[in-house]
C-alpha cells in the first residue's frame, strides 16, 4: 500500500493478459525457432539442399522481425505493466531476484546480438561459422528461459523459500524442473507449428511435402515432451494448492481436462496433414493447428495464473498486494493508515486496495450483479467472509470500521430496489434468486461448500429460526437481511428442493 493505485476501467487481468500472452507465445517461439533454424540449416548444408536453404533464409527474416522486435519489446512491456498493476509484487520480486534477472539479461544480450548476426550472416559468412552463431543463439535463448522459469515458477510454488528466504530455495522451487521441461517442449512444438504456416504458402511440390513432414515431426516431438511434462508439472504442485483450487474454483481445474483434448486434436491433425497428405497443407489448416497449439499453451498459462489465487506470490502476497507478513498490523490498525497515497475518499481508497485489482463496479468482474438489491449489512458480511466465497479471494484484513466504510461505498453504487423488483420475480423463482445472491456465493447445492444437509427438508419454523440466526452461524457468514417477501420466497424455494439436494 506504499503506492498509488492505477484506477482504470479496463480489468487488470485483461490488460495483463493482452501483453503477457503475446509475449509468452513469441518468446517461446523465439527459442524453439532458433533451434529449428540451425538444425534445419545443418541438415540442408550436409545434403547440399539449396531449396531448403532458401526457405530457411526467408524464415529467418520473419523470425528476426518477430522475435527481436516484438518479442523483446513485449518483454519490456511486461516490465512496465507489472510495475503499474502490482508495484508491490514487482518490488518484492525484483529485490529477491535481481541477480536472476540481471543474469537473464546477459543471455538476452547474447540472444539479440546472435539473432541479428545470424540474419545478416546468411550471405556473408561461411556456413560453419553461421551455424555456430545459430547454436549460440539457441543456447542463450534457452538459458534465458531457464532463468525466467525460476522466477515464474517461484510465484506459484515458493516452497522452502517462505521459511528460509534463501535465493536458491526460491529459484529451484518445487515446480522448476517440470516447468522447464514443459516449456522446452512448448518451444519445440510452437516452432514446428509456426514453420508450418510459412511452409503452407508454397505451391504443391515434392519440396513442400518434405518440409511439411519435417515441420510435423517437430511439432509432434514437442507434443511428446509437453504432455508427460504437464502431468509431471501438475503432480509437483503441492496438494494443498490444488485441493483449494479444486474446491474454490472449478474452472481452472476443469481446464486441465480440456487441455488434453487440445493436445489430442493437434496430434491427430498433425498425423493426418503432416504425414498422410502433406502436400495438401494450406494456410487454413496450418493456422488452425497453430491456433490449437496456442490455445493449449494459453490455457496452461491461464491455469497457472488461476490456481495461484488468491495470491500473486503464493503464501506471501495476495493478488491485491496485501502482504501476509503484515496481517497483524492490518488487523490492529486497519488498511487506511498503511496507505502511502490517499485521495480523501476513504471508501474509494479501501475499494481500490481491497477489491479493485480484481473487480469493477460495473465492468470487468462486476460487483453489481452480485450485490444489486442487497443491503450495506449484507455487503459488510460478505467482505468479512470474502475468503470463504467461491472464487478464492484474499481475506479482508482491515478493521471493522473500514468494513463499514467499504460496504457503504459499494452499497450506494448498487441498484437499491428490491431483488424482486430488479428481476421481476416472485414465488419460488424469486426464492432461488435470493438464494443465489444471499447464500449461493458461499454454498452451492451439489457443489462448493454444500449445505443441503442442513437446508433441505426442514419445517417452516426451522427455516425462520435458521434465517434469524444466520449471522451467528459463522463469523464469516452474513446475517439474513432480506425483507419478508424475500424470506417467504427463499423458504418456499428451499422447501421445494428434494431430500439430498438438487
Amino acid at each position: 500500500m506504499n503506492y498509488p493505485f492505477w484506477d482504470i476501467e479496463i480489468g487488470y487481468g485483461l490488460l495483463m493478459a493482452s501483453i503477457a500472452i503475446i509475449h509468452v507465445f513469441v518468446s517461446h517461439f523465439a527459442i524453439g525457432g532458433g533451434l529449428y533454424l540451425v538444425v534445419a540449416e545443418w541438415m540442408a548444408v550436409k545434403k547440399n539442399d539449396s531449396q531448403m536453404l532458401d526457405y530457411l533464409q526467408r524464415m529467418t527474416k520473419f523470425f528476426v522481425l518477430v522475435t527481436v522486435v516484438f518479442g523483446a519489446l513485449t518483454g519490456v512491456g511486461i516490465w512496465f505493466i507489472i510495475g503499474l498493476l502490482n508495484p508491490a509484487a514487482t518490488e518484492a520480486l525484483i529485490h529477491h531476484f535481481v541477480w536472476a534477472w540481471a543474469i537473464e539479461w546477459t543471455y538476452f544480450g547474447i540472444e539479440i546480438a546472435a539473432a541479428i548476426l545470424y540474419f545478416y550472416g546468411w550471405k556473408r559468412m561461411s556456413s560453419r561459422d553461421h551455424q555456430t552463431i545459430g547454436w549460440i543463439y539457441f543456447g542463450a535463448a534457452w538459458m534465458s528461459l531457464f532463468v525466467i522459469n525460476g522466477i515464474v515458477t517461484f510465484m506459484l510454488t515458493p516452497g522452502e523459500w517462505l521459511l528460509t528466504g534463501v535465493f536458491w530455495d526460491g529459484f529451484f522451487n518445487p515446480t522448476f524442473w517440470s516447468s522447464l521441461v514443459l516449456r522446452t517442449g512448448v518451444c519445440v512444438m510452437l516452432a514446428g507449428l509456426f514453420a508450418q504456416v510459412v511452409a503452407s504458402r508454397y505451391g504443391p511440390s515434392d519440396f513442400k511435402g518434405r518440409i511439411v513432414r519435417y515441420n510435423s515431426g517437430w511439432a509432434l516431438a514437442g507434443l511428446a515432451i509437453v504432455v508427460p511434462a504437464f502431468i509431471w508439472y501438475i503432480s509437483q504442485i503441492p496438494s494443498d494448492i490444488t485441493d483449494t483450487a479444486r474446491e474454490m474454483m472449478r474452472l481452472p481445474m476443469n481446464s486441465i481436462g480440456v487441455s488434453y483434448w487440445y493436445a489430442a486434436a493437434i496430434g491427430i491433425l498433425l498425423v493426418i496433414f503432416g504425414f498422410l497428405i502433406p502436400r495438401r497443407m494450406n494456410l487454413l489448416f496450418a493456422s488452425v493447428m497453430m491456433l490449437f497449439g496456442l490455445a493449449w499453451f494459453g490455457s496452461y498459462e491461464w491455469f497457472r495464473e488461476s490456481v495461484r489465487k488468491p495470491y500473486v506470490i503464493q503464501g506471501y502476497m495476495y493478488g491485491n498486494a496485501t502482504e501476509v507478513a503484515n496481517e497483524e498490523k492490518y488487523r490492529e490498525e486497519g488498511y487506511l493508515p498503511q496507505m502511502g497515497y490517499r485521495t480523501g475518499d476513504d471508501g474509494a481508497d479501501l475499494f481500490r486496495r481491497a477489491c479493485r485489482s480484481c473487480h469493477t463496479i460495473d465492468g470487468y468482474h462486476p460487483l453489481k450483479p452480485a450485490y444489486n438489491g442487497t443491503e450495506t449489512e449484507f455487503i459488510a458480511g460478505t467482505i468479512r467472509g470474502a475468503h470463504v466465497i467461491k472464487g478464492n479471494m484474499p481475506p479482508f484484513m482491515g478493521i471493522e470500521a473500514e468494513i463499514q466504510k467499504l460496504a457503504e461505498y459499494i452499497y450506494v453504487r448498487m441498484d437499491s430496489r428490491s431483488i424482486a423488483e430488479i428481476h421481476s420475480l416472485y414465488g419460488k423463482e424469486l426464492g432461488q434468486k435470493v438464494y443465489d445472491l444471499r447464500c449461493g456465493k458461499c454454498h452451492e447445492f451439489g457443489g462448493f461448500n454444500d449445505k443441503a444437509e442442513s437446508l433441505v427438508g426442514l419445517e417452516d419454523e426451522d427455516y425462520h429460526d435458521l434465517l434469524d440466526m444466520a449471522g451467528d452461524l459463522a463469523e464469516e457468514m452474513p446475517p439474513f437481511t432480506g425483507d419478508t417477501a424475500e424470506r417467504e420466497a427463499l423458504i418456499e424455494y428451499l422447501r421445494s428442493i428434494p431430500e439430498g439436494g438438487n
Partner: protein
Amino acid sequence: MNLPDYNFISVPLWLLSSLHILTLTLHFAAMNFVFGGIVVILLGRINDRWNNPAVQKLIKLFPTAMAATVTLGVAPLLFVQMVFPKQIYSASIVSGWFWLAIFGVAMLAYYFLYGAAFTKKLGRQALYLILAFVGLVYISFIYSATFALTENPGLIKMLYAAGQSGLIINPDVGSYLFRWIHMILGAITVGAFFVGWIGRDNEEVLKAGKVFYLWGMVSAMVLGFVYLFTFGDFMLPFMRSPGIWWMTASLILSLGSLYFFFKQKFLFSGTMLFVSLLGMIATRHYARLVHLADYYRPEELTVKPEWGVFFIFLVSFLVMLAVIWYMLHLFFKRPAK
C-alpha cells in the same frame, strides 16, 4: 510466521549505483546514435542525401542500434528500480497510460527503422525516419517528465489525489523542460559523433557530423547551465555533492573530445565522449539524491549481500561480452572460401 522481507538490497549501494550508471551510459550511447543520427541525416547539409553511401550505411545500422538501445535499457531500469522502487512506480502510475505507451511507441519506432533500412524506395526513407524520430521524442519526453516527478514525492501525492486514472503528465514543466531539451541536444551531439566517425570517409557526411557536434555541444552546455539554475534551493546541496565534480570533469572531457574529433582522432575523441557521458549520468544521479534527500536516503537501505548469485551475474556479464566479441569476429572475418 516470519516471512522473508524484501526491503533490502543484495549488494552494497555503490556497486548497484555504479552498475546502473554504467549500463545507462551504454543505453544512452546506442540511443543517441539513432536519435542524433536521424537529425544529422535529415538536417545536415548533404547533397542528394538519399543516394549518399555513407548515409545509407548509417540507415542500415539504425535497427541494430535500436536493438542495442532496448537491450541495454533493460539493465539500468532493473538496477534503478532496486534503489528507487517507491519513487519510480509511484510517478509512473500517476502517468500510467503515457508510461505504458512507451513500449508500444518504441516498437513502432523500431519497425519504422526497419522500414527505412529495408525499403527499396529511397524517397520513403525520410518519412520512416521522421516517424521513428517522433516516437523517440515522445519516449524521451515522458521519461523526462516521469523521472522529474520521481524527485518530488509531495507532488506525486497531490497529483494522485486529483486523479487516479493515469492520465496526468507532470505539470511542473519548469522542473524538466530544460532538462529534457538539454538531453535532446546532448543526444544530437553524441549522434553527430557517430555520424562523423562512421561516415569519416565521406567528406560531406563528416562535415555535417562536425557541424552538429560543435553546435550540439555548445547549445547542450548552455541548456545544461540553464537547467542547473532551475535547481533553486537544491543548488547549494548539489554544489556540495560529488555531482559538481563529475559535471566539471565531464565538461572538460567533452571539450577535449571536440578537439580530437576535429583532428579526426576518433578513438581519443570517442573515449573522452563516453566518459563524459558517463559523468553526466553520474551528475544526474547526484542531482536526484539531492532532490530526494528530505524524503529518502538510499544509503539507509539494509544491505544483505548475495555474493554467490552476484558472482554468477558478473561471470555471465563477462561471458556475454566475450561471446558477442567472438560472434562479431566470426561475422567480420574474411570468408574462407
